[in-house]
């Protein structure tokens, strides 16, 4: 849709219109260069508004020049070419240039093809009509350029090619070097020597002209392609092949339709469509239209770009909005499902807790409370277990008199016993008393369950750091044999 365009084949006598879009085309007819033809053409344009238009001019009034110009770019190139076109073609209105290649040697200059329609007056009514109807004309190009694209479609490998096309307007001979147009001429249909046999002569003359102008090297062999769906050029092939300067090949309708991918009957009815179809989808290399004629197309391009941008923005906005909205709907549905799930969980919870008894504590503290009660109920002090080793030791030491006994839990599973005692028959012999106490300590330490036995106080403190005092006069009091022991025992619990 966006690539649809009208291709006009303009000759001094008439104008043909091809409605082209990729993969599809229609021949809309021909309109003579008369008042009626112009009116009908206007009606056609009104029926096809806002379609870009390319005008392909097929006329004998054309001129081509190959020029080598210094390699410049930008505005300098534009000015250089403008000056050159004015210098070469004087005041011609329809002129154009095409930078074909860059020289490989020397200054590496640019090779240009300059072209013009030397007489463009016949085009003015058509151009005026296009301009009046605000048709976006995007170019005027010579027929030889359309034929160049046709040559490219035919995939001709030869370097020097002369394409001879016979259409209703006459015989067009175009010379291409490496597939690029160098020269073209049209021998009009109204020329007297338009007989089939004369085509070979015209080709030979053209070859001589090209050689003379040094457009074609002298030693070059010219490969001639004869394109004529009516078969009028068939006779020229044998005549040309007899000359070693030529190699000739006929391009039949079948190979042409295959190269262009268009129906054979369609092309047979209007052979002029072939070059138009070839150039329709291509970018324009040689444009002869003055700048002011292209303004409508510039507007058209800007408008088309803006409209496309608006469409893209709208489509992107719509897509993103739709994606967000759809995602939001999905999330909303999930939320509704979760809400129902939550409600179900709450109902389940309510059903469970409604049967709970009244408790003075939290349910999760029931177990720990019971465990704590069990733990606290275990007696850390097992008196029988504590008394047993003491009783056994005291039984074998009857001279020990216990004054007091303190029992206390010291750590988990351990008890501390503090034993206050004295000797029953102390006679002042501290050495003997200490020996008895040592004996008791040893027996206690060996008793089962006793882990440590420590002497807290003794009848006499012989430690070198202590102050020791006493007397040897008078009676000996039993209290002087007082001593204290501290024991650590393992309790059964």
């Amino acid at each position: 849709m966006f690539d649809r365009r009208l291709i006009l084949l303009a000759t001094p006598r008439q104008i043909g219109v091809l409605d082209w879009r990729p993969g599809n085309m229609h021949w809309l007819g021909e309109y003579s260069a008369s008042e009626a033809g112009l009116t009908a053409f206007r009606q056609l344009l009104l029926g096809h508004p806002n379609l870009p238009v390319l005008l392909v001019a097929d006329t004998v009034d054309e001129d081509y020049r190959s020029e080598i110009l210094p390699h410049v770019q930008g505005r300098a190139r534009d000015e250089l070419l403008e000056r050159k076109l004015k210098q070469v073609f004087r005041n011609a209105r329809f002129t154009g240039s095409w930078r074909q290649a860059r020289e490989k040697l020397g200054r590496r200059d640019d090779r240009y093809l300059l072209a013009t329609l030397t007489d463009g007056d016949w085009l003015v009514p058509w151009i005026t009509l296009l301009h009046r109807e605000q048709v976006p004309l995007y170019g005027i190009t010579p027929m030889a350029m359309a034929c160049q694209h046709l040559l490219a479609r035919l995939k001709v490998p030869e370097q020097h090619v002369l394409l001879a096309c016979r259409f209703s307007n006459g015989l067009r001979l175009s010379y291409y070097y490496d597939g690029l147009l160098r020269f073209s001429r049209l021998i009009g249909a109204d020329t007297p020597n338009q007989l089939a046999g004369n085509a070979a002569d015209e080709i030979a003359k053209t070859q001589l002209y090209l050689t003379g102008q040094r457009i074609l090297p002298r030693e070059a062999r010219l490969h001639v392609l004869l394109l004529d769906t009516n078969g009028q050029l068939d006779s020229a092939q044998s005549a040309l092949n007899a000359d070693p300067a030529f190699s000739t090949r006929l391009v039949d309708l079948h190979s042409l339709t295959r190269a262009l991918r268009i129906p054979e009957d369609f092309l047979a009815a209007t052979p002029e469509i072939a070059p138009l179809a070839a150039i329709a989808g291509e970018s324009l290399q040689l444009n002869l239209a003055p700048r002011e004629l292209l303004r409508r197309h510039s507007e058209f391009r800007w408008r088309q770009g803006l409209n496309m941008a608006a469409g893209v923005v709208a489509a992107a906005g719509l897509t993103i909005s739709a994606a967000y909205w759809l995602n939001a709907q999905g999330l909303h549905e999930q939320a509704v499902q979760l809400q129902a799930e939550t409600r179900r969980e709450e109902l389940r919870h309510a059903a469970v807790v409604k049967d709970f008894p009244a408790l003075t504590t939290r349910p999760d503290e029931l177990g720990p409370t019971l465990a704590l009660a069990t733990q606290l109920s275990r007696m850390p002090l097992d008196f029988n277990a504590l008394f047993e080793p003491l009783g056994q030791a005291l039984a074998v030491n009857p001279q020990i008199v216990v004054k007091s006994l303190t029992l206390q839990e010291s750590a988990e599973g351990m008890a501390e016993v503090t034993l206050d005692a004295r000797l029953a028959d102390f006679d002042g012999n501290y050495r003997a008393a200490m020996a008895r106490i040592d004996n008791l300590v040893a027996q206690l330490a060996a008793a089962p369950g006793v882990t440590t036995v420590e002497r807290v106080s003794s009848p006499v403190n012989t430690a070198p750091t202590a102050t020791l005092s006493g007397k040897t006069l008078g009676e000996i009091a039993p209290e002087e044999s007082h001593f204290t022991l501290s024991l650590q025992l393992r309790t059964s619990s």
Partner: protein, 200 residues
């Protein structure tokens, strides 16, 4: 391409502007819808997680209640859970003394205090210290008394410390006369009920 002919492109530029504005508005609105729905879903997810946790906790609590309720009621009946029952404790030590055929006792109950945290295991555990003084004939009277008290005790208690001291320095006599003074410190434990803190 030539300079853009602004005047003749007003319509297209306006169209582009409208498209941009409408797209921006659409994206803004739908984005807001999306973020709102996302927040609502997040909120609902949180509510669902809480409800499921509550429901699972309820199941767990129901299991715990079924498992421990009877034993817990026993603890309440014994006086371990709830207010302290000093009268019962006093009666218990008196009866235990009589059961052990001892010679009477004196007691002192201290004010209730919070139990050490290491012992409480995170529960509001209180302890009340009771000092019992009683005369004994022989040392083995003490474990007999403790055993009798354990049989009589309505609550939970522990013997924290005991001191046995000979009343006189004379040698033991074969008569039924107490010769040992016993002083024991008992700790009576209670767990505060109804969410009260320990020590209150």
């Amino acid at each position: 391409m030539m300079q853009p002919p602004i005047a003749s492109l007003k319509g297209s530029m306006l169209l582009l502007l409208v498209a941009v504005l409408l797209s921006a508005a659409g994206i803004f609105w739908s984005g807001k819808q999306d973020s709102g729905a996302r927040a609502a879903l997040q909120q609902q997810q949180t509510a669902f997680n809480a409800a499921r946790a509550r429901q699972q906790q309820g199941q767990t609590e129901a299991r715990l209640i079924a498992q421990h309720l009877d034993a817990y009621h026993d603890l309440i009946a014994r006086g371990f859970v709830g207010e302290e029952n000093r009268l019962a404790w006093i009666e218990a030590v008196q009866l235990a003394n009589r059961d052990a055929r001892l010679y009477g006792l004196s007691y002192t109950l201290s004010p209730r205090a919070a139990a050490p945290a290491a012992l409480a295991s995170g529960l509001p555990l209180n302890q009340t210290r009771m000092v019992v003084k009683m005369p004994l004939l022989v040392e083995t009277d003490l474990p007999r008394f403790v055993a009798a008290l354990r049989a009589r005790a309505p609550g939970v208690f522990r013997v924290d410390r005991c001191r046995l001291s000979r009343i006189s320095d004379a040698p033991p006599q074969p008569i039924n006369q107490p010769e040992i003074d016993a002083e024991c410190e008992l700790l009576w434990f209670t767990v505060a009920a109804g969410g009260q803190e320990a020590g209150k």
